[in-house]
Every structure is written in structure tokens, then in C-alpha cells.
């Protein structure tokens, strides 16, 4: 396929879509599927068949629409009218919706409608997720109709690899996996690295509990990720890409596999991409459940079929990666940003966000908040806007206590910092990180030492065991936290806790160990009084912990006390 054919394909699909009087889009990503989207789609099909409307009404299973807790979600598009979104659609309601909208005089069903001016939608800015919820992830045509692969065609035809790297540098895009390294610089390093073979890896091993941005992007818009990877391959001079998908995401892997097959058949991947001299193959690697594999060197070990243990850097993957060749490794979400940047230009992208953090970021908003789901917001938006405007506040009249960002590598942000702009620098100043974008809201029923213990247990379980500070440190930290939450800790334990945290941060081999103490340190920083209440008063302010143990007897103190007693006794006698 060449560029003209690509364009023709998009136009044909657009015409086809406009020929339908009404389009029913039903979300078919994991959360909606588990709340019953399959039955809704079946009902739509049945109704269309019963009333013989195949030529006038189209049914599309799309990717994520956003407010996951309100699923299954259905969007109805009628030509010349505003889209209507329905929440919590049951098969009965689906029948009503299909009949009302497909009628010769389309009507809306006045039930379960999500208002279009809801802050959840209006405060967002969709760049990476611009297609999500509107296209069928299993059909290449629907992606192409929305301008898909034209950025790749543009890059191949009109840009040199150096120009592509420069555009990415100018856009200010930073890695969306968490650390926020400037992506363009990384690309340029790989481009300049000597090597007759180079690789591109998309990191889709999203192990953070509470984060599911990558899964949603891979499920909702797999071609967007592949296009980004192909552009990266062209820019750095690689002809082989790997996409590493978590084992827990079977639907994402299936849709990606399907997308790769279709793209290869149409000449958008594989040999001679878009009739140019550029070749690019993509293979999927399925993870097997190890959080440490999100770390780049561990991930590469896993791709090579070994235990996912990290190795020391430098040399960085950009010089020496997979099988010793220069390797570009980026998060799936980073690749999702590439096509819009090439399409609209670096200046456009750089105009979104803050001075040092450009563009938008996807967050998985979860926890005790009214509307949970997936959101994409411009960098620099305040946490308050995310939690109270987009998320709709805390349910049940409870109080906001903290927002946890960045999962086990991140930290908790307390209520007094709700107005902080969300960007890489502000978050790290608060002792948290952007991370891959999990944002868990907690109300006053959450006990902070208990939350810290939860994350430490996670890191203890997931430590690969290669370096001692991480392997032993996580166990010790977890044990002390266990003592704090069961009532057997002493003041000394608290000092030891801090000392250990700093030691682990400074001496661990990879990101897992270096960042494992973060949740603990940040809760200590903002909620120290809670730790002290556990130790000194043996009370849990959140009334969550049960104190089953007692602090060990301090022998020296006890002996001194007895000696004093003995002295007074002898004096008396």
C-alpha cells in the first residue's frame, strides 16, 4: 500500500460511516465487558436484525470511553446531531436505545444519559486517547478514517530520521513510564549509536497496582501504538520491534496481535513499509507476572527468555540493549504521543502543558472518588480539579485524605497540597512521582501506616532478589511496619525505619529498590502523627488497625527502673 491508497482507504471508510443514519458505539474494554457489555452488543445486533436496519444502523465495539465505574457505556451518533452517551446500559435499555435512535425520527431515551457538559468530559484534553471510544480497535479502516498512519507516511516520505528525532526533542515529550526522561534525546542517542542492528521496545508491562492506562491504550487503539513504534524504528534505524504485554492482559495481547497481522498484510508494517525502503517487523512478547520486568534492563532480560533480573547501567540500553545491540525502550503511552506530534507539529504539542512538562498525561483515577475511570488531562492541571471536578469528589460525605500517585514507587499527596499543578517537577518536590499514572484517592478511612505496609509488602514480594539492599531491606521495612500496625513498635523502630529507607534508596541496583521506600517516606513526611499515634498511644486514627501485640520489654530501662526501686527499698529499710 502507498500513501495515496492509504488516503483512499480513509475516505472510503468515512463515506461508509456517513451513509449510516445512526451509529451505536458500545465500549468493549475490560471494565465494561465485566459489567455486561457483551449482552448489550448482542441485544443491539438482535434488534437491528429483527427490524431489518442493517443498511441504516451500524454497531461498533469500541475501546474505553472513560468513566469505567459507570459502564457499560454506549455512545449514539446520529448524523447532524450531538452525540449522546448512556451509562449503565442493560440489555432492556439497549433495546429501547436502539429503537428510539434508529427510528425515522430519532429520539433520545430520557434515562441514564451522561450530560455532555459534565466536568468529567469538559476538563479533559484528549491527544493520546483521541480515538479511544470512537473507533473499532479490530478494524484498521476505522483507524485510517481518523487519519491513522498518515504520520508514518509523512515521516517516511518527507522527513529524515534526524528530523524526526529533532521534532520529538522540540515537542518536549518526556517518557510516560514514570521517570520522565526526555524522549527525543533518548531517540537521538539510539540513532547515533553504532550498530548494524537496532531494536525498538514498547514497554506494556504495567505492574503498578491501580494503573491501567497502557492496557486501555493497547486495547482501544492498538494501531496508534504500532504507528508510534514504526516511526521510532524509522528514526533510530531499527527494523525490529517488540511489544511486551503483561500476562494479565489477554484482550490487549489479542487485539495487538490482530492489529499487527492486518497492518502487515496491508503493507503498513513488515517489509517495505508504505512502498518505501524501510522495513519494520513487530513481535509480541507476553509477560509472566513480575513487577520488576517494568524496569528496562529486567524487561530486556525477560524478552531474551531469562529471569527478569535487572543489570547495572551504564551501559544504557541505548548503547547496549537486547543481545548487545542499541535498543530504544519507551512506554506504550509515549509511543501513543508520537503520531499526533508528527501530524500537528512540535510547536502545537509544546503549547500544551507546563514549561517543563509538555503535553497531556493519562491517569487512571481510582479509589474513593465518585466517578472512577480513565482520564487524559493537560499537564499542570491541579490535583483538586482532577479529584473534585473530574472525579466528582469523595462519595458518602467523607473527607479527602490523600492521593497516591505512581503506585509502589510513588507517594501520597495530602489535602494541603491539593492545589499543586500536576507535572513531573511539582510531584517529585512533594516526594511523589508521576509514575505511569495511577492515581488512587483515599478518604479518612485509610490508615497511612497500613497503606505504606501494603506497598512495602508488594515490593517485598516483587523484589527480584538480585541485590541485597532491596531483597533484605524490603523485608525489614515490612516487618517494622507490621510491628507499627499491630502495636508492638517502639520509638527506636521509627528511627530505624527512616535510616533503612535512605540506605535502600541510595544503594539499590534498579528502580524498584531505589523507589520502594517512597510511599513510606512520603507518608512519614505528611502523616507522621499517625505513626506516632500507633507507637505512643497504640491507637489507629483511622480505626483500621487492631493492636494484637505489645511492645517488647526494654531490658535496660527495666533494669534501671528495678535498680532504682531496689535503692529506694534499701534506703527505706
Amino acid at each position: 500500500m502507498n500513501r495515496e491508497e492509504l488516503q483512499a482507504m480513509g475516505e472510503r471508510e468515512q463515506e461508509k460511516q456517513q451513509s449510516y443514519r445512526c451509529r451505536l458505539l458500545c465500549c468493549a474494554s475490560t471494565p465494561c465487558l465485566s459489567s455486561g457489555a457483551t449482552a448489550v452488543i448482542e441485544t443491539f445486533k438482535q434488534v437491528i436484525k429483527e427490524h431489518d436496519l442493517e443498511a441504516e444502523v451500524a454497531i461498533t465495539s469500541t475501546g474505553c470511553m472513560g468513566p469505567c465505574s459507570r459502564g457499560p457505556l454506549v455512545t449514539v451518533q446520529v448524523n447532524g446531531q450531538q452525540d449522546v452517551i448512556y451509562e449503565q446500559v442493560t440489555p432492556e435499555l439497549a433495546r429501547e436505545i436502539a429503537l428510539a435512535h434508529a427510528a425515522a425520527e430519532p429520539k433520545t431515551v430520557e434515562k441514564n444519559i451522561l450530560p455532555g457538559d459534565l466536568a468529567f468530559f469538559t476538563k479533559q484534553k484528549k491527544v493520546v486517547l483521541s480515538n479511544s471510544g470512537l473507533i473499532d480497535p479490530d478494524r484498521l479502516e476505522s483507524y485510517v478514517a481518523r487519519g491513522g498512519y498518515s504520520a508514518l507516511a509523512h515521516a517516511l516520505r518527507e522527513m529524515t530520521p534526524m528530523e524526526v528525532c529533532e521534532t520529538i526533542i522540540k515537542s518536549g515529550l518526556r517518557g510516560r513510564g514514570g521517570a520522565g526522561y526526555p524522549s527525543g534525546l533518548k531517540w537521538d542517542l539510539v540513532r547515533k549509536a553504532p550498530g548494524d542492528k537496532k531494536y525498538v521496545i514498547a514497554n506494556g508491562d504495567e505492574g503498578d497496582p491501580g494503573a491501567y492506562m497502557d492496557r486501555t491504550l493497547m486495547e482501544s487503539d492498538p494501531h496508534r501504538v504500532l504507528e508510534g513504534m514504526a516511526i521510532a524504528g524509522y528514526a533510530v534505524g531499527a527494523d525490529q520491534g517488540f511489544i511486551y504485554v503483561r500476562g494479565e492482559y489477554p484482550i490487549a495481547a489479542k487485539r495487538l496481535e490482530n492489529a499487527i497481522r492486518i497492518a502487515e498484510r496491508r503493507g503498513l508494517l513488515g517489509g517495505r513499509v508504505l512502498d518505501s525502503s524501510f522495513n519494520f517487523r513487530v513481535d509480541i512478547r507476553i509477560g509472566a507476572g513480575a513487577f520488576v520486568c517494568g524496569e528496562e534492563t529486567a524487561l530486556m532480560a525477560s524478552i531474551m527468555g531469562r529471569r527478569g533480573q535487572p543489570w547495572p547501567r551504564p551501559p544504557y540500553p541505548a548503547q547496549k540493549g537486547l543481545w548487545g545491540f542499541p535498543t530504544l525502550i519507551n512506554n506504550v503511552e509515549t509511543f501513543g504521543n508520537i503520531a499526533p506530534i508528527i501530524e500537528n507539529g512540535a510547536e502545537w504539542y509544546a503549547s500544551i502543558g507546563t514549561e517543563k512538562s509538555k503535553g497531556t498525561k493519562i491517569f487512571a483515577l481510582a479509589g474513593t472518588v465518585e466517578t472512577t475511570g480513565l482520564i487524559e488531562v493537560p499537564m499542570g492541571i491541579s490535583l483538586r480539579e482532577i479529584v473534585f471536578d473530574i472525579g466528582g469528589g469523595i462519595p458518602g460525605g467523607r473527607e479527602f485524605k490523600a492521593a497516591q500517585t505512581g503506585g509502589p514507587s510513588g507517594g501520597c499527596i495530602p489535602a494541603e497540597h491539593l492545589d499543586t499543578p500536576v507535572d513531573y517537577e511539582s510531584l517529585s518536590r512533594l516526594g511523589s512521582i508521576m509514575g505511569s499514572g495511577g492515581l488512587v484517592v483515599m478518604d479518612d478511612t485509610s490508615c497511612m501506616p497500613d497503606v505504606a505496609k501494603f506497598f512495602m509488602e508488594f515490593c517485598m514480594d516483587e523484589s527480584c532478589g538480585k541485590c541485597v539492599p532491596c531483597r533484605v531491606g524490603t523485608v525489614q521495612l515490612h516487618q517494622i511496619l507490621e510491628h507499627i500496625t499491630n502495636g508492638s513498635a517502639t520509638q527506636e523502630d521509627l528511627d530505624k525505619l527512616e535510616e533503612l529507607c535512605i540506605m535502600m534508596k541510595e544503594t539499590s541496583l534498579c528502580g524498584l529498590g531505589q523507589s520502594a521506600p517512597n510511599p513510606l517516606l512520603s507518608t512519614l513526611k505528611y502523616f507522621r502523627q499517625e505513626y506516632e499515634a500507633h507507637i505512643a498511644n497504640r491507637t489507629c486514627p483511622a480505626e483500621k488497625c487492631t493492636f494484637t501485640e505489645v511492645p517488647p520489654l526494654q531490658l535496660t530501662e527495666e533494669l534501671q527502673r528495678r535498680a532504682r526501686l531496689a535503692k529506694t527499698d534499701s534506703e527505706v529499710s
Binding site: T30, P31, L33, S34, S35, P67, C68, S69, G71, E206, G207, D208, P209, G210, A211, Y212, R215, G247, E248, Y249, P250, R285, I286, G287, A288, G289, A290, F291, S302, I303, M304, G305, R306, R307, G308, Q309, W323, A364, A366, G367, T368, T372, G373, Q404, G407, G438, V440, M442, S446, V451, F454, F455, F458, E462, C464
Partner: protein, 193 residues
Amino acid sequence: MATTSKHKTAPAKMETVHTDPRYKLVDRTLKRLHYQQDALIEVLHTAQEAFGFLNDDLMIYIARALKLPQSWVYGVATFYHFFSLEPQGEHTCVVCMGTACYVKRSAEIVATIQKEFGIAPGETTPDGKLSLATARCLGSCGLAPVLVIDDEVLGKETPEGTVQRIKEVITTTPDTGAATDVAVAQPQEEHQS
């Protein structure tokens, strides 16, 4: 990255040793990936899908086919949580322990199941009916707390409702008895987790 032609002849002999048809599935994956040593994880995935768990014979078989030391294969199989070296129960209940679920008290659900059925996470009931497991994050945080019983993803759960549902699942399905059926039925469940 050792892919030489001599690798391709060795496993062919072994196919005759194993009469179990499930080894064919493993062989097919081995062949598709050209007996490359770095395809180990993929092969283990297929093997677990076919057998439900990885027993010693299976790991030795894979080690020979890929010309890797047995300790290497064992090391990889035990490193990743996804691979199980023990047979699983007829039904599985996977409780998500992600942050969002934890904040919404999924630990209480696990404790209730543990008390009701007498098994800790990672264990199977003595009659082989139920395996309890916990997952790091199922990525359905919007529906927290989430759990998966066999193939079914259940969101917004309560401890009582979960125990009730597990009892229903265990009692309504007929006792298949044969161990092989259990093993074959397992892969989809594993995938869900």
C-alpha cells in the same frame, strides 16, 4: 541466540517417548519458534496452557528441547508468578489486591474466604475443588474491589456476596473427577488472572 539445524533433529526423537497428546502443543510452539533458547518463556506459556501447571517431566522435556540446563528452566519457571508448579483446583477464585481494591477493603474478602474454606491464598482445598489466589492488579480499578471466579469478572464485591457466589459455583457444576479435564480446563482461568 543459538539456532542451528542440529537442534531440530533432537526433539523429534523425544516426541515418540511421550504419548500424551498435549506434548504436541508444546512441540508445535517449539517448532514455530525454531527451538531458540530465548523463546523459553513462550514455550512455558504454551506448556502451562496445555497442562494447567508445569511438572518436572515437562520442564525436563523443554530443557532438552531447547538445550538449556534444567536448572535454568526451573529458575525461569519459579521466577515468574504466572507459572505454577502445583496442580490447580477445579475452580479458581482470584482476588485483586491492587491499591484501589485494597483501599476498598479487598483484604477482608480474602480473610472471609480463608475462614470459610480453610485455604490461604495460593492454596487449594483438599478435595481439589477450589484454589484461592490473589492478583497484583487486574486493571479494573473502576469496579474495585474486583475478583475473578473461573472466567467471570465480578466487580464491587462484598465478603458475604463472594462466599455465596463461590458456593454456588462449586455446588452447581457436576464433579468431573478426571484430573486431565481439570488441567485442560485450567488455561482460560489462568489467563484471566
